[in-house]
Structure formats: C-alpha cells, structure tokens
C-alpha cells in the first residue's frame, strides 16, 4: 500500500492502481473535512439555529 | 498371559540383519542400522538373550560369548559385514539350486473349491493386498492410512470393489451401503464400482478393521479375516484357497 512495503514496485500497475485509490481517498477525505470545517464556521457565525430554519 | 514383557527396540533403533526369505534369484541380506537413539526404556532382543545366557552360565553362556548384539552380528556375518555397513545390502554372487525341474503331484489332484454354496452365495469374495495398507500384525501408520483412497475406506466404512454390471444386478450404486454375507460371517460394507474387476467377483483390502491402538487406525473398515475361513489342500495341508463365496444385499 505504501512505497516502503517491500513488495512495492514502481511500475505502471502500481501507479494506476494506487493513483486511483489515493485520488478517491483524497476526495473523500477533503470533502468530509470541508463539510466539517464549514459546519463549524457556520455554527460560529450563528447559522442553523431554529430561527433560520 | 505372559508373566514378563521385555519391550524391544523398534527397527529404527537397532542393528538387525534382514534376510530376504523368498522371491529373489540369489541370496540377499539387508542390514538395518539404528538411526535414532532408543526413545523408551527398551532393550534389543538379541542383547536380552545374551544377558540371559550369561546369567545362566555354563555351556549356555559359552554359546553366547559376545559383549553385545552388534558384536554378535559382526562376527557371525563375518565377511558380509563390511559390505553391509557400506552398501546396506549383501547379495550372493552365485547361487546353486537343488535342481532345475519342478514337479508337484498335487497339480494333478482335483481342483479345490472355495468354501460356500454357489446357490446361496453367488459371488466370490477375494481379499487383496494394497500397497498402501499394511496387512501384517502392525497396522498402517497415520501417514499411510492417509494415503488410502476414499473408495477403500470412508469414515469407518470399508468398501468392496465390484464390477458395475454385477452391482447393477443387485441394485447397488457407487458408495451404496450393502450387507456382505459369507459362510463365516457378515459385515456392513460400501461398494465401489470398478470396471477392472471380473463380474461375479468382489474384492476387499486386507489389513483393515483393526481394533487395536488409536483412532488413527482402529475401527476403520472391515477385517476380512473374520469373513473368510481356511480350505485345506489335502496333499500339503496348507491353505488352498484365498477366497470364499459371498452374497451382497442392499442394506
């Protein structure tokens, strides 16, 4: 999974596979982080109380 | 029944000369050498005898002059010893036979039939030796029994080999349970269809159905000796027939 595992080889197969994998993982990670941070910011700004609903 | 038991080394723990008793053109002797030290509190049978003789004294002690069994073997095998130690086997270079012709009056005697009435027992049961089953008094070791096919033993059931045509006449299929009856006894068996066996004949492996030792050997298959009896050759007194008449019925 990581380049320091001894079965790791820098070949096309590893690059394509792990490229796709890390791309997806990053999208998921960044997406959810963005949602959480934005929710925190919104809350501090006072959004989301029932008056705004 | 015995008052005294004197456990012997097993073959891997002892020296022993192993003469080949039959089947080869010239006299052949093998040598078994110890490859492991004795695992239990046992003693070589030869040494037991030497000790006994020594204790009894007199001419008996004089007849067993060796310090141990290895010395006894070395001295009695004389010039063969070195060859045996080197090659493990000694073969006589030439051998003289008593004659070159074979005559046996019994060959002209009437054929001896197997036990049992053909009308009541339509099949012929033949025991066979399997290379993977030890049929002597010591049974299969666990690895050997593991090599036995599932068409010879399956769980605790033993099989008989039968020609598919004969099996079809009785209404038996591959693996069916059947009751095997002979004039000597009966046993529950499974059938294995085998094109190679003569119609009308059924065969069962020798060396199964042990009651002794442990779960690796005991209670597997049927002891065929309980199903067959001796038929004596009137001229020699030896067993003349291996087989016996038998009947198979759907169980």
């Amino acid at each position: 999974m990581f380049p320091f595992s001894f079965e790791w080889i820098w070949d096309a197969g590893h690059m394509v596979f792990h490229g796709g994998l890390w791309y997806a993982l990053n999208i998921i990670g960044i997406g959810i982080t963005y949602c959480i941070i934005k929710a925190a910011v919104d809350t501090i700004k006072g959004k989301g109380s029932h008056d705004h609903h | 029944m015995a008052d005294l038991l004197l456990p012997d080394h097993v073959y891997l723990e002892r020296f022993e000369d192993v003469p080949v008793t039959a089947g080869l053109a010239s006299q052949t002797i093998g040598l078994s050498k110890p490859v492991v030290s004795p695992q239990f509190n046992t003693r070589h049978l030869g040494e037991t005898l030497i000790c006994l003789a020594r204790a009894m004294g007199g001419s008996l002690a004089a007849s067993f002059p060796w310090a141990d069994y290895e010395t006894c073997l070395r001295e009695t095998l004389a010039e063969k010893w070195d060859v045996l130690m080197k090659d493990g086997v000694w073969t006589a270079e030439q051998m003289t036979t008593a004659g070159s012709s074979f005559r046996a009056p019994a060959l002209e005697a009437a054929t001896i039939g197997v036990e049992g009435e053909a009308s009541a027992f339509p099949l012929l049961l033949i025991p066979y030796d399997s290379l993977r089953i030890s049929s002597g008094y010591i049974g299969d070791a666990p690895f050997m029994i593991k090599t036995v096919a599932d068409t010879v033993i399956k769980g605790k059931d033993g099989f008989v080999d039968i020609n598919p045509q004969t099996a079809a006449e009785i209404g038996l299929g591959e693996g069916s349970l059947a009751l095997l009856t002979t004039p000597c006894g009966e046993a529950s068996v499974r059938v294995h269809l085998d094109e190679g066996i003569m119609p009308g004949v059924i065969a069962m492996a020798k060396g199964l159905g042990h009651t002794a030792y442990d779960g690796y050997l005991a209670d597997k298959g049927v002891n065929i000796n309980e199903l067959i009896g001796p038929v004596e050759d009137p001229s020699s007194g030896h067993d003349a027939a291996w087989g016996i008449r038998a009947k198979l019925a759907k169980a």
Binding site: - | P142, F143, Y216
Partner: protein, 275 residues
C-alpha cells in the same frame, strides 16, 4: 540473491513423472507429508479436506473387464509459470502471499502472510492447494519427528507443495561453502523423488541440459515449453498454465486423460490458448 542472479542464468526446477513406472504405492505421499510436517487427523477419508501436497490419482481407461487399464498419476503442485510468471494462483493472491520465483521457477507460499481468503484455491485447476481447516495436532511425543527445517502451518492458511524448497536452501548454502556456483543436481532432490521405489519421478533444472529431467523432457521454449518427447504431456496444457511437471506415458489414453479434448481433436494437438 540478486548477486547470484546476475551471474547465473535462471533455473527452472521441474519434474518428469513416468506414469508407466508408477505403481501407485503412495510412498511419495508419505515421504512428502513426513518431510514437510504435514499434519494428520484421525479421519482422513474425506479427501476434500485432507492435506496431501502430492496426491496420487487413479485413472482408468473406462473400458470394461477384461480390457480395463489403470494408471496412477501423482500430482504435486505443478508450479505453473503461466505467461512470464503469471501463474493462476500467484496472479490472484491479494496479499502477495504466494510468489513465482524467476530464479528457481518455484511457486512459493508464505504462510505467515496468507490470511486465508482461498482465492488461490479457486484459481488452481489441479486442486494442488490445501487449506488448514484445523490447527495441526500431533499425538503426544510425535512432535519429535517434525522437521526443524519446515515451519508447521497454523489454522486458516493455505499450503501446498514447495518442491521441498528448504532442501534447495540447504543445498544452496552448501554449494556456496564448497565454492560451487550452482547447486549440483544430486544435492537438491525432493522427498517424493527420493522415496519413489520405481524411480518414476525425476527432478532437476529444466533449463540445464546436463540434468536428467531436461534430457527426458526436452522442453521447447519456442513452443510454450511443450516437451519434444512424444511420450510426454502436461496436465491441462491447453489452459496455458505452462506447468513444470511433465508426465510420461506410452499409452495414448493416459496422455489423453491429461487434458480436455473436444471429440474431434487428436491427443496432443490442440490450438493455442486464447490469452
């Protein structure tokens, strides 16, 4: 290892098994189990969960008495090379727990890496791979016979014939100490080869013209390593598994039983696999 690879051409260990010599005695199976610390249970009659790295099959020509002919076929792991090391099992293992060695041609199995998904077993058409459904148990005192050179396997992992790889490692060390560049033919032989009383199994380097196995098999590298010996065939050759165990028989029906043929095809002549 890399150093040696640079100086030595790669080896390809393989076998030639003469089926016309095999008596079906099972000595190879016993020798193998004993050599490789294969466990045993009280009931081994269910052959679907009985571990036998080399298993002797009984084949018949299907004719009725008295024309019936039988043949015993010992089946170790076939150590498939596939196409460039793409053996059926190695290519599917998700955890790299089995590998094809380009140095020796041996398909390895790393027991401590295997987590027991059994995909390799599904991939192997020879049923040469076995799963440890139970933890191995040796009767009291019997663990003394275990070979210290082979690790016993725990429950939940797959195992298979390794061509007695530990013997290769020992022979290689010995050759190195003796200053030899290559492992001599006699120095590395599998347990089954040595145990066969009929001398039906010949083991060695298929790449080395001095080895007996090469002389018997005469593999043709330009024809997918097919044997030039007319008596020789490989199991399921047309699947493209490119195995390193060759079988020999003078009987046509035996050679035909080694592969799947369509009704109109003649034995030994099949079209090339599609992949």
């Amino acid at each position: 290892m890399k150093h040696e690879q640079q100086h030595n051409p790669p080896m390809k260990y393989g076998m030639a098994i003469d089926l016309d010599k095999c008596t079906g005695c099972g000595a190879c199976m016993v020798a193998c189990m004993s050599e490789n610390n294969v466990p045993f249970k009280t009931d081994e009659s269910n052959k679907l969960d009985s571990i036998t790295w080399i298993r002797v099959y009984k084949l018949t020509n299907g004719k009725s008495f008295p024309d019936t002919d039988i043949c015993y076929l010992p089946r170790p792991c076939q150590h498939c090379e596939g196409h460039g090391g793409h053996s059926p099992c190695v290519s599917v293992c998700p955890a790299t727990a089995t590998d094809y060695s380009h140095e020796t041609g041996i398909v390895s199995q790393i027991y401590t890496r295997c987590f027991g998904c059994r995909y390799c077993m599904a991939a192997c058409p020879y049923h040469a791979r076995y799963f440890n459904w139970w933890d191995p148990v040796w009767p009291d005192g019997m663990e003394k016979y275990l070979s210290p050179n082979v690790s016993p396997r725990m429950r939940g992992v797959v195992e298979k014939c390794s061509f007695c790889f530990h013997r290769y490692q020992q022979a290689k060390n010995k050759a190195y100490l003796n200053g030899e560049r290559r492992v001599p033919e006699a120095a590395y032989q599998t347990a089954c080869t040595q145990a066969c009383p009929a001398g039906a199994i010949v083991f060695g380097d298929l790449n080395n013209p001095e080895h007996k196995v090469h002389q018997i098999v005469q593999p043709d590298p330009h024809n997918g390593n097919r044997s030039k010996n007319p008596r020789a065939f490989r199991l399921l050759e047309r699947l493209g598994t490119n195995t390193k165990v060759y079988y020999l028989s003078s009987r046509e029906w035996v050679r035909r039983a080694g592969d799947n043929y369509l009704a109109h095809e003649t034995t030994g002549h099949v079209s090339k696999p599609h992949h």
